[in-house]
Symmetry: C2
Subunit: 372 residues, 2 copies
């Protein structure tokens, strides 16, 4: 697992130059949401002087600053790269900022596909200044091919799936985990992407794994998560109808072998983002996930997490009611209305599995008793 | 594309120590089948002294020899690693043989996940003896995320899909390509795995690509293949019900965006090899592929390639008849009964697409004519 640095113990300046916004800088938004006490400044010259909450609605009190020099007055100990562009390349203009940060003694946290720790110039500079270049996306070496071992864990495994990228699969996983923990459930979020890893401190970015081992990586995450937890919320990736990333999605499904799924969707979206592919209906997309799970380990979608950030409250309530009517499943916007409905749905699966486990254990003991 | 060495211009000794057999050494079998004039010996001490055809039914006249020293009397110019074990590691006992081969002036061709060219000891030795370590599985750098461009090519794109690994997706692709060429069609085989790349001389091993770019790699293969060919046979990988490799399979489907699919299956197999996952019925598996294709680009399965190597001739004919009755699709064993039935099915799709293209081109010209 990837846990070289613990961001929760750092003062973080986020680099989002030229692209700070709710969706344009997803990593920045996630760090502000889940590490609000650690983020000390966001760098974007175009929005300098504003409060972070004026730009992305959360993060009140955190300033947007002009450049790294201005951010340094807030004594950061780490610079986080705030975007993850398609293809994962480092925008060339940012290299100078990274050199400046490293020379200034800051650790650097990155979720880019192109690993900073393998960049000769930056690695040499980091060694010289004794700072860590942490590539949260870099997978561990020697991952196995998946073996269906995830089907045998005692925890109840829930996978967040969805209609597209950026619809809330990570966020729903975290919110449901937190809501379950608040109700006394030994729940754990299992990150499968760089942003989740950055805020939660462990996991594997499965989209950076060689494809023969991607399902194996998902399996490893479940096997790690099950050690001390009863309910695992595995972070979904991509979508089965995404032309670029569908393979990652299916590897995750067949590697983690969930007991049930939570389907995430943005009601205002009707095509795959950046493509012209129309999204099928909710029922069709749900059926597709269930049909792909069935041959290896059947799993049902048991609830919907709708991302209504771009709708008014009444529109959001209407979208939730419509989705519930269409699917017959409980739906919520976890940010706006909380995740309790989804925790309820999970707890209906969870005791059923626990009872089955106990029954199985009792039968095993009984069948062995004559030998004792 | 990966074409560092052209195996067709070499005299090849195949290393299959301890595992030479039809399925146990799939790479060896493929090289013997498609490069029979190039393979000069197969190394397996357990079967030394026999003719290759006594072990794998093809390759008459090629000797199985005890070791590399014995193989050297046939003046090989290249040593090919004859297996591709799960996980792709190099069996440690073989390292000594590789050192001996390199020191003897042989190029080395490998399909292992662990790249020989990145092994410091072997790379240094190869440089010293001026030979190439060719990792057929090593993908090109800087592959893109898939963009649906494969849907726009003029060629008719056929993807071989299937129920499991090792059911004949590569072999069917090659046999159908050859049968189509024999009938005057400008057909091309598009390799997506190390064995296909070795025998065909180009391609990308998509299972070795980082999963975010696997569909993009499949797209690149189609874009390369379409340049001078009317019909492309894209080599399938894995299966949608394979717990380890299903993600590779789906990436290939959504990256190559075929016009139609050929479904490959071994009738005697009823579970996924090395797993306890039961195979769904033919109709269910076909429906699964068609359902996964539909949201991005609809494609039908138009024929079946059945691998009946372990059945008698009458059993094979019965299996083919049963599959045709179940699915209503033409079926054949391409090795035993030829691929013409499948070429017929493809040619029904192909002229339809060509006519559509022509119609589209004519309409385009007409709509533009007023501006001229």
């Amino acid at each position: 697992m990837n846990n070289q640095l613990q961001p929760k113990s750092h003062r973080i300046a986020i680099l989002a130059e030229g692209s700070f916004g709710i969706l344009a800088s997803k990593t920045a938004t996630v760090l502000v949401r889940y590490l609000p006490d650690n983020v000390v400044a966001v760098i974007d010259s175009a929005k300098a002087g504003r409060d972070v909450s004026e730009v992305i609605e959360i993060g009140a009190g955190i300033p947007v600053v002009r450049d790294l020099a201005e951010a340094m007055q807030f004594q950061p100990t780490m610079l986080a790269i705030g975007i993850a562009p398609p293809g994962g390349e480092l925008p060339s203009a940012w290299r100078a900022v990274l050199r400046e940060a490293i020379a200034g003694g800051l650790h650097v946290m990155s979720g880019l596909h192109r690993f900073l720790s393998e960049d000769a110039e930056l690695a040499e500079l980091a060694a010289k200044h004794d700072v860590v270049l942490w590539d949260a996306r870099k997978p561990p070496a020697h991952l196995p091919v998946a073996t269906c071992k995830a089907a045998e864990v005692k925890s109840t495994v829930i996978l967040t799936v969805g209609s597209d990228c950026r619809v809330g699969k990570m966020l729903s996983g975290i919110e449901v985990t937190n809501a379950a923990k608040a109700r006394g459930v030994r729940a754990e979020f299992c990150p499968t992407g760089q942003n989740g890893i950055m805020v939660w401190g462990w996991g594997i970015a499965i989209d950076a794994v060689v494809s023969d081992f991607t399902a194996g990586a998902a399996e490893q995450i479940v096997l790690a998560g099950t050690r001390a937890h009863d309910v695992l919320l595995v972070e979904g990736q991509g979508s089965l109808v995404h032309p670029g990333y569908s393979g990652v999605t299916l590897s995750l499904l067949h590697g983690s072998l969930p007991d049930a799924m939570i389907f995430c969707h943005q009601p205002s979206r009707d095509t795959v983002a950046r493509y012209t592919v129309p999204l099928p209906s909710l029922l069709q997309m749900i059926a597709q996930y269930e049909m792909m799970a069935a041959p290896i380990k059947p799993a049902k979608v048991i609830g919907l997490a709708l991302n209504c950030f771009d709708l008014s409250e009444s529109e959001a309530l209407a979208a939730i009611a419509a989705a519930e009517a269409e699917t017959g499943l409980p739906a919520t916007d976890v940010v706006r209305f909380g995740a309790d409905k989804l925790v309820d749905a999970i707890l209906k699966v969870h005791p059923a599995k626990s009872a089955e486990e106990n029954e199985h254990a009792r039968n095993k003991t009984m069948s062995h008793s004559p030998e004792r």
